[in-house]
């Protein structure tokens, strides 16, 4: 059986058509983003000490476009020896030029990086979509503009650290080892590198193995901007490479964004060392819709909360809790809204939901769809066509689920929403908090006082009110409970790179 058939067989819509008809009459013609101008080399080496260098064992691994399953390029696999070289070059830069130049000069480099990112924004957006499968609308309008915004924001702090932390002499840790995930490749790089450099650290960063392309393009940009050698080192590879970074003796601080499982392993291996760490881990965000909420806008908010970036968002709103009086209405509207989501080619300007990031994740999400059905949930999927090749999953809604279901408890990291109901605010809050995670929650109500009352009782790092998945460099971001340790963004994110 071919791969395509397996996928087609995976989950055909089982639900009846919603009441409105969104078919044909007037279809949008394909509107492909031009991608020819974005150059991709056949092979990328490691970026160490300001130069691109071959990996010590000479091994490379392939990277595919999840929307076509075609190989785009290959990346070097960094071994212990390569990581050691990268850490040494970061240490040399930290003890040398990077610590000698003034804070103002440090800021100027960051401003320069931000400006160069803006100049090449479209190129980065195209590559991000090609490599990771996210719709060009998102990489163009969300990811890359935010990347530049984070660099601009932290560039401004570089020479004002005494004002940020009055009463102490702010000092950097030294060499930071940073490991980032595949859902927002360049944005997570910015969240890590910008505050680290602003505070005066040097870094060794490992992008995720499925999405290393923009990090290496970024390395080219760093070279062009004349940043002193060794301040930013980028090593590619899988989990083993990450573990070499975490366990390297000369790393002063570890910053990790990724799954809770890996986070726990990292925390264990750091126990007993004097390395500092921040961990930004998984989530299972709940969204409370009250009866007095603006329903149409709430429905739109839910769409942005769970189907944004195919649901590959650690703070995704993957659990909908809706007050009983409006539950039927909300579910009906959600189903109709699902029909208008355009699923397909990430490089088409009209695509709303792109490709699942990798084969592995595609299988994980499909596994959860199966688990949900076996647990007795009712599944509703958009009636849309999906491309034959590539890893695509129809936006999915699970109703008739309960708190004890695995699809309600576990992070799926895909375009899958579970819907539960509640009667009173207390019940809604209890359900929202009844999870090992605590990264982000949302609340929809027209009443300001309710936002504060409910919001202050929900245990999560972020509470969005009448909106979801909004990011800003000035705002701290991070988790309660198993969603992580420490904060990124804002002054809190800067403090994470300053010695206490």
């Amino acid at each position: 059986m071919s791969n395509t058939e397996t996928k087609e067989a995976a989950y055909k819509p089982t639900s009846p058509n919603s009441k409105l008809d969104f078919a044909s009459v007037w279809e949008y013609a394909p509107a492909p983003q031009d991608s020819k101008f974005a150059e991709v080399k056949d092979q990328y080496d490691l970026f160490i000490g300001g130069k691109f260098v071959k990996p010590s064992k000479g091994r490379y691994f392939k990277s595919t476009n999840p929307a076509t399953e075609e190989v785009i390029t290959e990346f070097a696999e960094a071994t212990q020896k390569d990581v050691d070289k990268a850490v040494k070059s970061a240490r040399k830069a930290f003890e040398g030029e990077w610590s000698r130049i003034s804070a103002k000069e440090r800021g100027k480099y960051l401003f320069r990086i931000a400006r160069m990112l803006q100049e090449r924004a479209r190129e980065f957006a195209v590559l991000e979509s090609m490599d990771g499968g996210k719709p060009i609308r998102e990489s163009r309008d969300v990811d890359i503009p935010l990347v530049a915004a984070y660099f601009f924001y932290y560039a401004g702090w570089a020479d004002k650290l005494e004002y940020a932390f009055p009463g102490k002499k702010p000092e950097p840790y030294g060499v930071c080892g940073q490991i980032i995930p595949w859902n927002f490749p360049l944005l997570m790089l910015a969240w890590k590198i910008a505050p680290a450099l602003a505070a005066g650290n040097t870094v060794v960063l490992k992008p995720a193995e499925t999405t290393s392309l923009t990090a290496l393009k970024f390395a080219e940009l760093v070279k062009d901007c004349g940043l002193p050698d060794g301040v930013i080192n980028i090593v590619t590879g899988a989990g083993q490479t990450g573990s070499e970074i975490v366990n390297h003796k000369d790393i002063d601080k570890v910053a990790f964004t990724g799954s809770t499982n890996v986070g726990k392993i990292i925390q264990k291996s750091l126990a007993g060392t004097d390395k500092k760490y921040t961990l930004e881990l998984g989530g299972k965000g709940a969204m409370l819709i009250f009866e007095d909420a603006p329903i149409d806008q709430a429905v739109e908010g839910i769409i942005n909360a769970i189907y944004f970036n195919q649901g590959h968002v650690c703070c995704a709103g993957s659990r909908l809790l809706v007050q009983e009086g409006v539950a039927d209405k909300v579910i009906q509207k959600l189903k109709d809204r699902l029909e208008t989501l355009i699923v397909g080619d990430p490089l088409d300007k009209n695509t709303d939901v792109g490709a699942i990031n990798s084969k592995e994740q595609f299988e994980t999400v499909n596994k959860y769809l199966e688990i949900g059905v076996n647990e007795g949930a009712e599944v509703y999927q958009a009636n849309c066509d999906v491309p034959e090749n590539g890893y695509f999953i129809r936006p999915t809604l699970f109703t008739n689920v309960s708190q004890s279901n695995r699809v309600v408890q576990e992070e799926i990291f895909g375009p899958v929403l579970t819907v539960q109901t509640f009667r009173t605010a207390d019940e809604g809050i209890e359900k929202a908090n009844n999870t090992p995670y605590g990264l982000a929650n949302g609340v929809w109500t027209d009443k300001g006082s309710k936002i504060f009352k409910v919001g202050s009782q929900m245990r999560s790092g972020v509470i969005w009110a009448n909106t979801y998945n909004k990011f800003d460099p000035t705002s701290p971001f991070g988790g309660y409970k198993e969603s992580g340790v420490g904060r990124e963004g804002g002054m809190h994110g800067l403090a994470a790179y300053i010695k206490n």
């Binding site: 409105l20 739109e300 209405k329 300007k349």
Partner: protein, 299 residues
């Protein structure tokens, strides 16, 4: 039939509405779908003249343009209707005979609506007797803002009765209603009172039609359809001058209400200068070049 309590307000989040519109405006409409949209928009126009200076001569010119928008391109659709003052209805009716193009007439002391109800009803009956297929009425905004929702409802119902078989479009004059929640409430009142269409504006008040207001009204139509199964039409009017804007409105309709509303029976543009911009874009799509506006008749 049971009516909702119009004193209850359906909450609408301004920020959310505007975000939704800006997201829909990012749809990229190209090639075939663009040509199709341009022609569709043309077929949905209520080609309008509502000036104190209107004369039979001007209305006749307008009707000829409505029948044959641009002779250089043979297979163009005609516009949906010609919209005039009651006194001009008979002229338009005669001129459009056999074309399938409707005659729409504003009535009820358009644009202010500040006349006794009896006169407004007479105005309506006059237009209908002259042959109007569609009546565009205005609501009493003063009464609405004063909280007299029942009065607004009753007046619309009375005009609907006076319309007989003519279709009723109810103009909310959203530029005078100030909030999206008021727009929503006025839409609900109008639909329950018998409107076949709800319409944003007279074109005499600024702001006239806007996309966020139109989205709020489309969502009201959607809820009405969910609750009653009855399809109500939508007409944004005033301020829609370019083909690009028109296509953006069509996207709002397509993604809010779907296929059933994408035709002249359920969606109209109240506009005058839009026609020529659509024609210009259609010619551009066919020939690859923009023609000077001098090549398009100004009727």
């Amino acid at each position: 039939m049971k009516y909702p309590d119009f004193n209850q307000t359906i909450s609408i989040d301004e920020v959310g509405v505007e975000e939704r519109v800006s997201r829909l405006n990012k749809r990229s409409i190209k090639k075939d779908s663009k040509v199709q949209a341009l022609k569709l928009a043309l077929s949905m126009i209520d080609h309008t003249t509502l000036e104190g200076s209107d004369s039979p001569g001007k209305v006749i010119q307008l009707c000829k343009k409505a029948r044959q928008p641009h002779p250089a391109i043979p297979d163009l659709p005609t516009v949906a209707a010609v919209c005039v003052y009651p006194r001009m209805v008979s002229v338009a009716k005669k001129e459009l005979k056999g074309s399938g193009i409707h005659v729409a007439s504003v009535a009820t002391a358009f644009p202010s609506g500040q006349a006794p109800l009896s006169q407004r009803l007479d105005d309506t009956k006059f237009a209908v007797n002259e042959g109007a297929d569609e009546i565009d009425m205005v609501i009493s905004r003063g009464a609405f803002l004063n909280g007299e929702f029942q009065l607004v409802f009753d007046e619309i119902a009375a005009v609907k009765e006076a319309c007989g078989d003519a279709h009723l479009k109810v103009i909310l004059e959203t530029g005078e209603l100030h909030t999206y929640e008021n727009v929503r409430k006025a839409s609900d009142i109008a639909m329950h009172a018998g409107a076949d269409f709800i319409k944003t504006s007279t074109g005499k008040v600024s702001p006239a039609a806007t996309q966020p207001v139109t989205l709020v009204m489309l969502e009201a139509i959607r809820d009405h359809y969910y609750e009653t199964g009855k399809m109500i039409g939508m007409k944004p009017a005033g301020g829609i001058r370019t083909a690009k804007q028109a296509i953006q409105y069509l996207v709002l309709v397509k993604e809010t209400l779907g296929a059933a509303w994408l035709n002249k029976d359920y969606f109209r543009f109240g506009a005058s200068s839009l026609t020529n911009d659509l024609l210009m874009q259609i010619v551009k799509q066919q020939t690859g070049h923009y023609q000077s506006l001098n090549y398009f008749s100004n009727d």
